[in-house]
Symmetry: C2
Subunit: 248 residues, 2 copies
Amino acid sequence: MKTNPVIETLLNHRSIRKFKDQALTEDQIELLVKSAQAASTSSFTQSYSIIGVDDPEIKKQLRTIAYNSSYVEHNGFFFVFVADQYRNKKIGQKYNEDTSALDTTQRLIVALGDASFAAQNMAVAAESMGLGICYIGSIQNDINRTAEILQLPDDVYPIFGLAVGYPDQEPEKKPRLPFDVIYHKNHYNPEPSEDALKAYDEEVGKYYRTRTGGTREETWTGQIAQGLENPYRKALKPFLEKQHLGLR
Amino acid sequence: MKTNPVIETLLNHRSIRKFKDQALTEDQIELLVKSAQAASTSSFTQSYSIIGVDDPEIKKQLRTIAYNSSYVEHNGFFFVFVADQYRNKKIGQKYNEDTSALDTTQRLIVALGDASFAAQNMAVAAESMGLGICYIGSIQNDINRTAEILQLPDDVYPIFGLAVGYPDQEPEKKPRLPFDVIYHKNHYNPEPSEDALKAYDEEVGKYYRTRTGGTREETWTGQIAQGLENPYRKALKPFLEKQHLGLR
């Protein structure tokens, strides 16, 4: 298949969890944010914000929430993407509008999408600049504390962080599900091929063995099944309620 | 600022709403899906699926849901991205797991993110191939009917379509919010600059005047305020409940 430098960048993605001690420049940060902003936004609402964190104290606090992962503190720069209805609510209030339409499931889904499109654009831009990235969904582990640290008002939801920096490791590419398992033709296919999943389990098993020098024995389906044992981040729903996001 | 071909592609984005009558090839479709799959996925759960629609009848049906937009029917190819807990639930059941952990807000947010990262990768890949794209959130306008058309089982949520094809128009780039309005330093700034928003309103006003030959007079803040008047897609929350997604 004919690729190009952009697609090569996309296909070459791997998450980076160890960064060199080199900060991003203001120019790099600006280019990353502008790349993020260029993504599509539902109905032009731009329902998200980006918080750039370089204060070492704040990074350290976020790290304690995010499984104490060192790369949340030690990186070139740390971004947080938030679903943001606060800005648009303030604008509506200026026009003397009833803003209760913001507090709907529809708007929450739109805001989560807007923030995610922007973040993925930033991830791609970063990798094209020779930087590495890692999404940090675990800032939601104590979402109330994260909101407090970042001084988030009502109507704002911190979805994930994005650690960016110069890679100090070269991890293998993590294999993805077989094409025919993720891709459906015209209708949803409720019966993915058993053989395809089995082959994928073997591929993932090999990936973990190589990565850990043979100490980690895992299959993808086994991992998925195990992950179902523990519902977590139970504070998310009450947090959404508290923030007036998506209740109806 | 120093850019590169990848960042040029990102910054050059504009949505395309008129496509030439030229279908994508199987090779192009495969490359787009593989590009999508290369995106990050939360905890490796790959909680999404992609439905590729080329059946003209299905496209036509989706068009009637999506404001009757012609480009939903007439394009090079049409993808639908769905948040997908069904596949992982089936896997859990095979391992005899209690799968109720899937039915949480945490998992819904993860699945929406996974699908959006993948979709944005596909959008970027498409544009790098000289194709144009438009997200179609309005397949949610009658979400029950969309689910029926695509034969979605429980635990699956259709978030948006992505129309892809050869552009048959050259729209202007839509201006984005000023940097300092979308970007916050270390803490959320609840008071975006009035001057910045005013300048942006003028820029957006000019964009609409140019685009419509002077017939459309709009500001961005005016548009936002007006959008608050009408809560819509009220079926989304009951649909999520029916699908066992994100209730707790």
